[in-house]
Amino acid sequence: MSHAYAGDDYGSYGYPGDRVSPRSRDRRPSARTTPRLTLDWQRTDRAATLREHSARFGPLPRHAGGRPDLLDQVEAARLTGRGGAGFPTATKMRAVAARRRPAVVVANGMESEPASEKDQALLARAPHLVLDGISLAAGAVGAAEAHICLPRTRSWLTDSVLAAVAERQRAGIDQISIAVHELPHHYVSSEETSLVHWLNGGEAKPTTTPPRPFERGVGKRPTLVDNVETLAHVALIARYGAEWFREVGTREATGTMLTTVTGGVSRPGVYEVEAGTAVGDVLELAGLQAGAEAVLIGGYFGTWHDIAAVEGRPFTAAGLHPVGASPGAGVLFALPAEACGLAEAARIMRYLASQGAQQCGPCMFGLPAVADDLGQLAAGRPEGDPLSRMQRRFGVITGRGACRHPDGAVRMAASAIQTFQADAHAHAQRRACFSAQRGRHHGRQQTAMLPVPRPFAEGDWR
């Protein structure tokens, strides 16, 4: 499986349409994609030009109804943020629009979640959909400037977006100019306050809140920070309306969502599904491999679960809430049958510990401590009692950082201990499981299933 940080993964996305295998069709007739944002991706297999984009979706709507119209439509569509937090987009837009000073729109295309590829897939195939969304959102909240933030590690993506912006300038499409930026690519650098801080000349690290960006953001102006997929949905809602948007999905989760499915699946990639599609159906779309029994839901900030316990649940915030999970940015990682869940969790934890902003003590010292505990357990070489040490540390760390980085990391670790409980106790008795042992004998690569990017130019936050 190729991964996006390599920068060459144009071939690795899953495409809508005909990817459902006969086997999964037999078992799960409901497993299917719903191409909206991903319309025609498979046919073109590259970034849509402005001309193709306009032929596909029609021209950028000039708002006959004026400013309030789009806000009403987004509200009626019940669009929620696709960056992971799932906050109602209209509420956020109104909060920015209600302030007196001219606003700023920031599109968040950082996607620092290593198990997610959907934002870069979207920007690589349909950049104009995102740019439309920026333009429309700017009109709706009264913004005079707009920015799109991309990771510095994906210059090919920047090139593609810059080309699209230039096309639009030639065609005179947007009322405002859209500046394209490349930011340092640390895990916490995609937090909205990090973007604002960087755009204001600081480091791409989260800042203490309040003030939130909607109150005081870029250049001290009220700032709307939205994920690029969210903005792409705004572009479709502006064209086709709220009712069209709600035609698919459930009451609480409307429209479609981009998902990234990787791990123990035969067709890893990005799939656009109706909100509310069952977790098991999304896994089947990507061809869940036999023997895979556990899944990481929501990414590195997510939680581990037995597939059997969650496969029937809708892949939405409300659907997953009862089992303590959240779809995050639409990420599913199926643990391959031959992998050790504890070893994977330990690697993620080590990565997350290295990815903090090194600002808050409980995170700076707590996450490496938990990573050590988990590492000892995974290796079957416990010093003392790592299980109870971790349980105590979980409680101490949670809620004590400026951002939610430590909370998310702790939640992931706690869910691993619970889901792989039998393994955890066996490992604690120095009986590491077969997978972990094999990994030890044949070098780490054997069990290394989840992508753990090399830390981005350590210390470079500007």
């Binding site: 992971g84 937090a85 906050f87 996607e111 909205e192 800042t207 203490t208 939130r212 600002q359 010292f365």
Partner: protein, 81 residues
């Protein structure tokens, strides 16, 4: 009016003076960073103020408990990625 202690976790560098001065409400974690009690009872207010002014990093604050944050304050209260 209920008062509570707040810490700026970025500013705090774990000197630990606050826990020395106000052990009733502040304990230190294993790395030396303060864990605060939920609220400050009136009889400890003077001690709390002393702890606040003693913080070398100016990271500790004494604030009124805010009830009911409006929806605007909750907007994007969680990190988006």
């Amino acid at each position: 009016m209920t008062m509570t202690l707040q810490i700026d976790p970025i500013a705090c560098t774990g000197h630990g003076l606050c826990a020395d001065l106000l052990p009733e409400l502040i304990e230190l974690d294993e790395w030396g960073y303060p864990i605060l009690a939920d609220s400050v009872p009136p009889d400890l207010l003077a001690h709390a103020r002393r702890a606040v002014s003693a913080c070398p990093a100016l990271a500790l604050r004494l604030v009124r408990v805010q009830h009911q944050l409006g929806p605007r304050h909750q907007a994007s209260a969680r990190p988006g990625r």
